[in-house]
Symmetry: C2
Subunit: 622 residues, 2 copies
């Protein structure tokens, strides 16, 4: 593990204040298990798959055409195609750090080749976009509703942050490209510039983090300006209303996330960043209240968000149809971004609870087992078996119910890739007293507290198959070890194995702490009860009345036709789910025949991995 | 009542064969009651409102600009704006007949003024469209997916049919305009022409009826050609798939209506016409099977169709979310068009049952009480009170939950207007033996059977408030009087009051017949039990599990917050609905307080007439 020589952690979000301090990829490493496997596939297959598609779809060659002066004729892809290149660069930057790739390693070479092509297309004044501003193209900033220019730059900034924090001494130039673009944004859209926002939030979170990374307060101030400008109707009315862009109500006055679910979460993330940086408690409180209401009333049991296909948007409170769940993969990632920022700011375990729910049931659902296919939308109820996507084709966003290799709007694949590559950064944090574990995976943690105490932990677990999380203390140190106890874990137990023998305590949902002078070899074990449970819906959620969802630990389970033997529309719960031979089995009545059959359930994230099927998360009880 | 001197009935659909013969507006007149009131408001307010908006929105002036040669610059409205002018002309034509307007009456003058402006814009070769074909406009037929040129002409043809059948000797020229346009369509798209279809079905039904009206078999053959060309993927792929256009599967191979619900119903209507004209039993059987499956699995309890906002489309079988019901008013009208053609072809009462359900619960729901506002979409569950529409503005299609005066896509207002103006044509039919009554309203029927027997009936009823339908025989005649007994009327009674005294028989759902030598003054009375009933959903409809809908006669009822006193999300059925003082009252538990309150229900078609409210048709029982 290479310690970066930058002072900030090698992490995507590093606030200058807040309850918890993030740990970087140089401090936390996932060493195997559920997430380790996914990180491996991401690194071995997904990244190359993405670069191959960016090349063949023309989204990377767009930069070459820009340099050759042959735009706009040859340009391919939608307005936001540039952003996928930047998300790919961000994923590569994290992956280089995660795998400790050398300067002459293939990953590093790929990264540099892409950066060179991107950098060559930047205009002398810092402007960078392949869709606007050249002869024959629409003028710069002429379509703020749909042009996505600032959105694309936001992703450029996040990629530059990843690079800066993981390879601060690299000479590839990406950080300078981002800095020049950010300076242009500040000139164009600053207090004396255009009083405008982008139709897709993202530049806020990108600018705020770039400002943090480069110690440029004016970038953070510009992010704050964009946040405050939302909600004043500066974007044109569209069929779905200005709430689509979150331009209907100012951020600090809103009661819940609304409109386009990715936009809403990205904006809330950027707003959290500027609230934290500015010490703006009122704004932070407003965001916390929005998070509460959104999680209570506008979030699926999977953690998925967005119940409208039409505008990829949140519905009204309690409007959560499982069969029309849009639950875009990127909205899940956006929700994790927002929750993570609130967790750092407040330390409250419920934010980590939602991150876990969303990671296991939205983000893990998206990629195919081989890392070369993805769900864009994540329905909770499939009535008609899907049609396999053309392996060489480009799919509609939500048209199939099977994972597809690429989409006309292909935001999700690189978003999953950057999330997996940086996932270790979401496992643990530190404060002045010690280390907090929020997500459970086999991992190593090595960090130094502000007063110089070194904390070194090795975590072993078979989670989420097994509920035991064993944290071995590697070096003697006195500190507080905090562990999250998920809200569903009502009978968790904490065991401390030390020279003093074994001490065992019940651990209530929330956070459990062990503060002591640890000795090398001490083991703190959290045992989470992974009892299978049937969850009744909130009575206000009309669409799943008279049904239950079966859950086990952090995983939502699903009834799939492959196991049920016929159309899952025929199924009625006929008893309690039980575990048998490592599988969860549910007694299910076939309504049409009267037969009750013990039917295995699958983890929702594994549905449709055995081929086209019908599937439901909520199973009728009447 | 003026008898037209054309031999065909003054009706919108006059097949050359089939089980039943339609009666025209010259043979059936609605004389009051529920539908008579709506016809009056339609004539007194809605028609003028529509013309005023067609003028102020620029959709009528587009024709003047075409003549002046100042298109495309000044053109306003969407691709299909012309079609609203034609639907308005069709409504006017029926209204002129319905009210027996003289040649110098204001209605007739309005009609002629509009026809003159439209006719002046027709090109020498018969082409007529304000959006395409002029210098600076896209070429004719260059955007078959979205251009709506043939769709607009289909509505022109229907308007011309209405005029031809009601004022066959009029010299306004509309019929010749339509004939020239139809001839152009046959030249351009005939067997030797472009092998193509329009992205929005309508030209099929228009051409078929114009062919019937003008005795031009080649127009019907052209309609048949368009029907057969559907389903071969000639239209470009779009995000929602080719099923949006019904270009995914040939009409005769499809299993259910699918895709855009208005397109699907219009195509099925035109396909029924060509099946009937061609004696194509296989095609007719396919359409009947599609109707069966669509009604069983893809139709709301209101008769509404279309459960997707995104593409205004049918969902999968059983996908019927009440809160996301799109249930477009025009899809309801399209469903009535399709059902009416099948009723004429087969005589089966279930088609009239669906027409009744859809008329009372979709079409009657749309217009505001003053006839100057409309629902475009008809949700079955409203969680947030709507925002009143700007009375001078133009609304998004489905954005508000309150009736709006006009829409950017304003197909529904003139569609409602033409349906109301021609409604008498859907009440009764004839065959060689007598007359059949399908819908119940105060009305007079005067017709002559093929063998010269004159049937004259006066119908009195307070339906749907009251269940007694009294049919008085006006002149002596021997014939068979058939009356539809709705499927929900399980204890209906038929009484025949004649010189022989009173005879009373039970009348089972379906059709009840009285065949006798009637004497003037005989009365046939059908008494339909309007007992309020709680309807459980089909168990396959997941979205309303554990809920019931309350119905009374043909009317679906709704629970509205105005009566409930708080958010209808808090409501649970606590007993059986009862009638009390002419109102239906339901005992409802307030979940949050535990109180049970006897709560009046309103007819669904009357919801939100007392101001913004929350509302639900399906009320939870658990």
């Amino acid at each position: 593990m290479t310690m970066s020589d930058t002072t900030a952690p090698a992490a995507p979000v590093v606030p200058t204040r807040g309850r918890l301090r993030p740990l970087g990829l140089d401090e936390v490493r996932i060493t195997g298990g559920f997430w380790g496997d996914r990180q491996a596939i991401n690194g071995e297959a997904t990244l190359a798959h993405i670069e191959s598609r960016l090349e063949s779809e023309g989204w990377l060659p767009n930069y070459d055409l820009a340099v050759a002066g042959t735009l706009p004729e040859g340009r391919r892809g939608r307005e936001f195609a540039d952003s996928e290149v930047y998300k790919y660069l961000e994923a590569l930057a994290w992956e280089i750090s995660r795998t400790d790739a050398a300067a002459d390693a293939p990953l590093e070479q790929r990264f540099r080749r892409v950066v060179t092509r991107v950098a060559a297309a930047q205009e002398p004044d810092g402007y960078l976009n392949t869709m606007f501003g050249r002869p024959g193209q629409a003028p710069r900033w002429s379509d703020l509703e749909w042009g996505h220019e600032l959105y694309c730059l936001g992703h450029l900034f996040q990629a530059a942050v990843a690079r800066h924090r993981t390879r601060p001494d690299a000479d590839d130039g990406l950080v300078e490209v981002a800095r020049r673009a950010a300076e242009l944004v500040c000139r164009e859209f600053g207090p004396a510039g255009r009083d405008a926002i982008c139709g897709h939030a993202e530049v806020e979170v990108g600018l705020a983090e770039l400002g943090r990374a480069l110690d440029e307060p004016r970038f953070i101030a510009q992010a704050a300006l964009f946040v405050e400008r939302h909600g004043h109707g500066s974007l044109r009315e569209i069929e779905w209303g200005q709430e689509y862009f979150q331009d209907d109500v100012p951020v600090r006055d809103a009661e819940a996330l609304r409109g386009h679910a990715v936009r809403a979460n990205y904006l809330a993330s950027g707003a959290t960043d500027v609230a934290v940086e500015g010490g703006d408690t009122a704004l932070l409180d407003a965001l916390r209240a929005q998070w509460d209401r959104t999680v209570e009333r506008r979030t699926y049991v999977t953690g998925g968000q967005g119940s409208h296909h039409q505008d990829e948007a949140f519905g009204d409170d309690w409007e959560l149809p499982p069969d029309r769940a849009y639950s875009e993969t990127c909205a899940g990632i956006g929700s994790i971004m927002f929750s993570w920022r609130l967790l750092l700011a407040t330390g409250e375990a419920r934010h980590a609870d939602l991150i876990e729910r969303t990671l296991f049931n939205v983000v893990a659902t998206s990629p195919a087992s081989d890392g070369r296919g993805f769900y864009y939308a994540n329905t909770l109820h499939q009535r008609v078996p899907g049609v396999p996507a053309d392996p060489d084709g480009t799919s509609k966003r939500a048209s199939s119910s099977l994972r597809a290799p690429w989409f006309e709007v292909s935001c999700c694949p690189p978003n999953v890739a950057r999330t997996f590559a940086s996932l270790a950064a979401y496992l643990a944090t530190a404060d002045d007293d010690g280390v907090q574990l929020h997500q459970y995976a086999p991992a190593s943690v090595r960090t130094t507290l502000p007063d110089g105490r070194v904390v070194a932990l090795d975590i072993e677990t078979g989670y989420p198959v097994d509920g035991s999380i064993r944290v071995t203390i590697v070096d003697d140190a006195a500190f507080t070890l905090s562990l999250r106890v998920p809200a569903w874990a009502t009978d968790a137990v904490l065991r401390v194995h030390s020279g003093d023998g074994l001490a065992e305590h019940p651990a209530a949902p929330g956070t459990v702490e062990v503060a002591r002078a640890f000795r090398a070899g001490d083991i703190v074990e959290l045992v989470l009860p992974l009892t299978v449970r049937a969850t009744a819906p909130h009575p206000m959620v009309d669409a799943v009345r008279g049904s239950v969802a079966i859950e086990r630990g952090p995983e939502v389970l699903a009834l799939e036709s492959v196991d049920f033997g016929s159309d899952i529309g025929d199924a009625v719960v006929a008893g309690d789910p039980v575990e048998s031979d490592g599988r969860v089995v549910l007694p299910v009545l076939h309504r049409s025949t009267g037969d009750v059959v013990e039917t295995p359930l699958v983890a929702y994230h594994d549905w449709a991995r055995r081929g086209p099927s019908t599937m439901r998360v909520w199973v009728p009880t009447i």
